[in-house]
């Protein structure tokens, strides 16, 4: 019983990590006022590339770098479309997403079903000896810890640095920002690239650590969940992280309950995060003050620099 509980709570961290990375990236992109719906495609492509590179090089680090690079490359295509050619963000996101999904199965098809060794979990000395908690919190792989650190860093960047303030102002009103001497296009470009890198890490983690194997369609909708998590977390990094871990725990809880012989319709468990996202979205959107505090006002709108 205790082991089952530890499985759910400890496993939730690993299950949540790809969601967390992708959602943190998307959060920064959205804070700059851009909606990038290609997260699923970016994750799929980088999962394939990271897997291939890790398999060939034998190094997870190199694999993660390759994954991040491919995510960034695809996000650059999106950035050029929406910033350079001022394409509609929804359409551009979907287009780039389709491209990423297609490329991932095209490039990965000769690696179908291949597996890798994952990376070892790190037991933090002393802390991991604590009964129960030690196994849940202090026996995780390095990327999980990096994900937690990244949450803090993104929060610090957004709310404690001048660059973060600039990014948020641009997300609120790019025209005002431009009038104040900020450079909306440049900042948005960097934000989109950051989103690509983070989606790249997310894909790399999914294929080289979490499973660790490559298979077509292995991202299985996690990119869309990441987009939903940004809303679920009301554009606050900490809440996004909590949402990701909750989601991870709920999906594992379903597996643990089934193994105990407690039957809950699997479709119900699968639906839960989507229903919750709608509920949260309605709750926060109805509250005008809170929306104004967190949701970027210019989200999804093209910005044309006055030249």
């Amino acid at each position: 019983m205790m082991d089952a509980l530890i499985f759910v709570l400890a496993g939730a961290f690993a299950t949540a990590t790809p969601l967390l990375f992708a959602a943190l990236g998307e959060l920064v992109v959205e804070k700059s006022g851009v909606l990038n719906l290609s997260v699923e495609g970016m994750m799929a492509l980088s999962a394939a590339i990271a897997f291939m590179v890790t398999l060939q090089s034998g190094s997870h680090l190199v694999g993660f770098i390759a994954g991040a690079a491919s995510g960034a490359l695809l996000s650059a295509v999106f950035a050029v479309l929406v910033l350079g050619f001022m394409a509609n963000q929804v359409a551009a996101g979907l287009a780039v997403g389709i491209l990423g999904l297609g490329l991932s199965s095209l490039l990965g098809r000769s690696f179908e079903g291949a597996t890798l060794l994952g990376i070892d979990k790190i037991a933090i000395p002393l802390l991991s000896e604590i009964p129960v908690l030690g196994k849940i919190l202090f026996t995780q792989d390095i990327v999980v810890y990096v994900g937690i650190a990244a949450t803090g860093l993104v929060a610090w960047f957004l709310y404690r640095t001048k660059a973060g303030l600039t990014l948020r102002v641009i997300g609120e009103n790019p025209n005002t920002a431009h009038a104040l001497g900020m450079r909306p296009v440049g900042v948005r470009f960097l934000a989109i690239l950051f989103g690509g890198v983070m989606a790249g890490f997310a894909g790399a983690y999914a294929s080289t650590v979490l499973t660790p194997l490559w298979s077509q369609d292995m991202i299985a909708g996690r990119g869309w969940i990441a987009v939903a998590l940004v809303v679920f977390g009301t554009w606050r990094p900490g809440r996004v992280a909590v949402g990701a871990y909750l989601f991870g725990a709920v999906s594992l809880l379903g597996l643990a309950l089934q193994a105990m012989g407690i039957g809950i319709p699997a479709q119900f468990m699968t639906c839960l995060p989507y229903v919750l996202t709608i509920v949260v979205l309605v709750a926060i959107s109805a509250d005008k003050v809170r929306v104004r505090l967190n949701a970027p006002a210019a989200l999804g709108e093209s910005y044309r620099a006055a030249s």
């Binding site: 909606l35 719906l37 295509v77 050029v80 479309l81 350079g84 050619f85 001022m86 394409a87 509609n88 929804v90 359409a91 551009a92 979907l94 287009a95 780039v96 389709i98 491209l99 990423g100 999904l101 297609g102 490329l103 991932s104 199965s105 095209l106 098809r109 077509q216 909708g221 869309w224 987009v227 939903a228 809303v231 319709p265 479709q267 119900f268 699968t270 639906c271 989507y274 229903v275 996202t277 709608i278 979205l281 309605v282 959107s285 109805a286 005008k288 929306v291 999804g300 044309r304 620099a305 006055a306 030249s307």
Partner: protein
């Protein structure tokens, strides 16, 4: 925003020349890329091009396939475009299609030996209403709580998929189908009549699509409601000043989009599928968004964009067999096509001019 001595300026009016040139340039660019890509994959580019663009048009069967593939794309895209013009982003047509199909399927599943001529009209009405209702949830939440319709429609799609699965493993399962998650085969009264010859799958859905296209064209070019929809969505302040409500734009956009998607769902189950099954659509709801944009959000443009996309789909399937390309290659091709289109569409709304040498002019612009 100048680059190598050139700058892009918004056009006062969209250029009709560019409007026609853009799709052509896109297609040429994509074909060139395709030849390069498929050659790299070891396929004969001649065979690939033949499979993609000639063979789909070369037999009545293949023509029928292009038409039944184009129908849902065009149908959904027409509905979505009305909303997109009003800047209401319904991206959950896939879910509205599924719910429309589920509700419409209740008639042929529960009256599976009926021969009533009312079954088909009943399915069409129920399907459209159900799609409408599913999209209506998003409309209600947007209009009353300001909840982003992008996220809500997206989430509702995922929920719709699970609802479909739940029903197929339980209440709507074929009792003599060995527990496989699918419904009974529909009776003939629940199937769209086909035309074009033996084995050709072109069906009533093609006619419905034509009618809807003409209807949309009339609506967009002639009606006051469409104008109101545009104003309500684009500039809500101006709309309010003129006495039009943004709320109505949201409701109208989503309801029309949902109805069209529901109708497309009926077209699938009463058409080529003939039953309710776990996979009803290979992503028509998403592809239609692309079709809407490819067609410049204009009913006639959408019609041709949908036909072209269908050609690419059907051609891709043919090329799987004749040129031995992998199944993912046509997906990459579609992605490229869209990226090129979105990039070149820029020139419909912008003109490129040489930057005047004098710096003073830039400040004035």
């Amino acid at each position: 925003m100048s680059f190598l001595g050139f700058t892009a300026l918004p056009r006062a009016e969209t250029s009709p020349v560019a409007l026609l040139a853009v799709p052509l340039v896109t297609i040429v660019l994509s074909i060139v890329t395709m030849v390069v890509m498929f050659s790299a994959l070891g396929a004969d580019p001649g065979v690939v091009l033949y499979s993609f663009f000639i063979e789909p048009l070369s037999s009545s069967y293949n023509l029928g396939e292009v038409l039944i593939k184009a129908s849902p794309l065009i149908l959904i895209a027409q509905g979505l475009a009305i909303g997109f013009r009003a800047r209401v982003w319904n991206i959950g047509a896939e879910g509205q299609l599924i719910i429309g199909a589920i509700c419409a399927s209740l008639l042929p599943i529960f009256w599976s030996d009926s021969q009533s001529a009312w079954m088909l009209p009943g399915m069409i009405v129920i399907g459209a209403l159900a799609g409408m209702a599913w999209a209506g949830i998003a409309a209600y939440l947007k209009a009353s709580f300001n909840a982003s319709e992008i996220i809500v429609t997206l989430m509702l799609t995922e929920i719709a998929k699970q609802v479909l699965y739940y029903l197929l493993t339980g209440p709507l399962k074929d009792p003599s189908g060995y527990n496989f998650p699918q419904s009974v085969m529909f009776p003939d009264a629940g199937l769209y009549p086909t035309f074009g010859g033996d084995g050709v799958r072109a069906n009533l859905s093609v006619i419905i699509t034509l009618v809807v296209t003409i209807g949309c064209w009339v609506f967009v070019t002639k009606s006051f409601a469409a104008f109101r929809l545009m104003v309500g969505g684009v500039a809500s302040d101006a709309a309010r000043y003129a006495g039009f409500s943004q709320r109505r734009a949201i409701w109208m956009s989503l309801l029309i989009g949902g109805a069209a998607a529901g109708l497309a769902g009926v077209g699938e189950i009463a058409g080529p599928i003939g039953k309710l099954q776990p996979i009803l659509s290979p992503g028509y709801g998403y592809a239609a968004i692309i079709v809407a944009f490819l067609g410049g959000l204009h009913p006639i443009g959408i019609f041709f964009a949908g036909l072209f996309m269908a050609l690419v789909y059907v051609g891709g399937d043919i090329a799987l067999v004749s040129a031995g390309i992998p199944a993912s290659a046509p997906v990459v091709f579609q992605g490229l096509l869209l990226v090129f289109y979105l990039a070149s569409y820029f020139f419909v709304r912008h003109e490129v001019r040489r930057v005047p040498q004098a710096d003073g002019l830039r400040g004035a612009a």
